[in-house]
Amino acid sequence: MRRIERDEIVSVSFELNGKRAAGTAQPRTLLSDFLRQTLGATGTHVGCEHGVCGCCTVMIDGVACRSCLTLAVQVEGRRVETVESLAGDEDRLNALQRAFNKHHALQCGFCTPGILMSFTDYLGRNPKPSEDEVREVLGGHICRCTGYAGLVAAVLDAAREMRGETEPEGEPHAA
């Protein structure tokens, strides 16, 4: 049994983007704050802190979920991936990120890290999603800038590229 007293400060260690990470937290410290404030991993954004906006989405043990609804002490010994894990060496964007760029799937970029992490998980499970399925996953995010059309186009295009298929005829913006 693991027990941490109220206001007790403990060291939390886990795997962050493939490397060991550790920092101190109280039981009430949210994972989102722990990542940003303690570890300086500010790629993960924070909007609503009640699970609705989706910009804090990260993957825990490979599964996309809200870091604002997770306690830092809950990830002890587990594997966390954030948006910082996506680009390869020398910040070469991955296929999903390139598609976001190409289809103008972001403007201010506030919502982007969470959406990228949701689809990193989702496309791993469903490499050939329909437009409806993409929209349904997007339903777990709020984007105030793009109007979503570019996001849908980007995800469908990235899925195609990840399957090794070529681009269909027509406008890259069509959603």
Binding site: M1, R2, R3, I4, E5, R6, D7, E8, Q26, P27, R28, L30, D33, E49, H50, G51, G54, T57, V63, A64, C65, R66, C68, L69, T70, L71, V73, Q74, S118, D121, Y122, E136, V137, G139, G140
Partner: protein, 272 residues
């Protein structure tokens, strides 16, 4: 929007978990998926002194068929039940309703039992449990008991669970809905909480209808086989008034009742 301080405990067994509940009673809160509780903590709507984390308890992680019911353990997420290969065959109604519970991202963490424990009047899973005539398995230091859905949910976020009890599993009777089932809800977006949700199953010729989002808990209507169209319409009308409804920023009570009148006939014909 940060929680107040609390102690955090991650027990290694159900026994340790119920010991903690016996010791701390109402000052303790179980945390399962955290998809409702964490928001309430962040908003300081609840201020427990100790959180008991059961989300990783292996003992509670099973989905199986036991004594005529699909039994879902308390650490099973909604996503895991949805991906269970036997779901459609064993619990066809759950297969219809579950994709409406929140979003992909919240189903990844939110548990089936946690939703039933939380007892939101518009939630799909408590409605499902009521419609199918399921039950909740509770355990405390004193022993274990089963409570039928109709007795479990008592009102808005209120259930028959005693402060020293842990929900270890919920049970959905196998095959109810195999003869016919329908489910639909109206929400502002897919994944948002329902304004009104309606489910129906055909059971031995008669039709059972459950409605969420109108009263303070899911309501149930039994329609006998072979009634006339007019009788059916009257029964739905009476049912809508009986449910009452409430006004909030999303909808008025009147609009909710109207949704019941409009949705119920559609869902009934899907189930019939």
């Amino acid at each position: 929007m940060k929680p107040k301080s609390f102690a955090y405990v991650r027990p290694d067994s159900v026994e340790e978990a119920v010991d903690l509940l016996a010791q701390h009673g109402e000052d303790a809160r179980i945390i399962a998926g955290g998809q409702s509780l964490m928001a309430m903590l962040n908003l300081r709507l609840v201020e427990p002194s100790i959180l008991v984390d059961i989300s990783q308890l292996k003992e509670l992680s099973e989905i199986g068929v036991r004594d005529g019911a699909v039994e879902v353990g308390a650490s099973v997420t909604q996503a895991r039940l949805l991906a269970w290969p036997e779901l459609k065959a064993r619990a066809p109604f759950i297969a219809l309703a579950l994709p409406w519970v929140g979003h992909f991202q919240t189903r990844n963490r939110g548990t089936v039992c946690g939703s039933i424990a939380h007892a939101d009047p518009s939630s799909e899973l408590p409605l499902s449990l009521r419609l199918l005539g399921g039950e909740v398995v509770l355990r405390s230091k004193k022993g274990s008991r089963k409570v039928k859905a109709e007795a479990f949910q008592q009102g808005l976020l209120t259930t028959a669970r005693r402060p020293d009890e842990l929900i270890t599993a919920v049970r959905f009777p196998v095959g109810v809905g195999a003869e016919g089932a329908g489910f639909r809800e109206v929400a502002r977006r897919h994944g948002d909480f329902a304004i009104v949700a309606v489910g129906a199953v055909k059971v031995a010729g008669s039709i059972r209808v459950a409605v969420g989002g109108v009263a303070d808990r899911p309501g149930l209507l039994e329609l006998p086989a072979g009634g006339s169209e007019a009788e059916r319409r009257q029964a739905i009308e009476d049912f809508a008034w009986e449910l009452g409804g409430y006004d909030d920023i999303h909808a008025s009570a009147r609009y909710r009742r109207d949704l019941v009148r409009r949705l119920a006939p559609i869902i009934i014909s899907e189930a019939a």
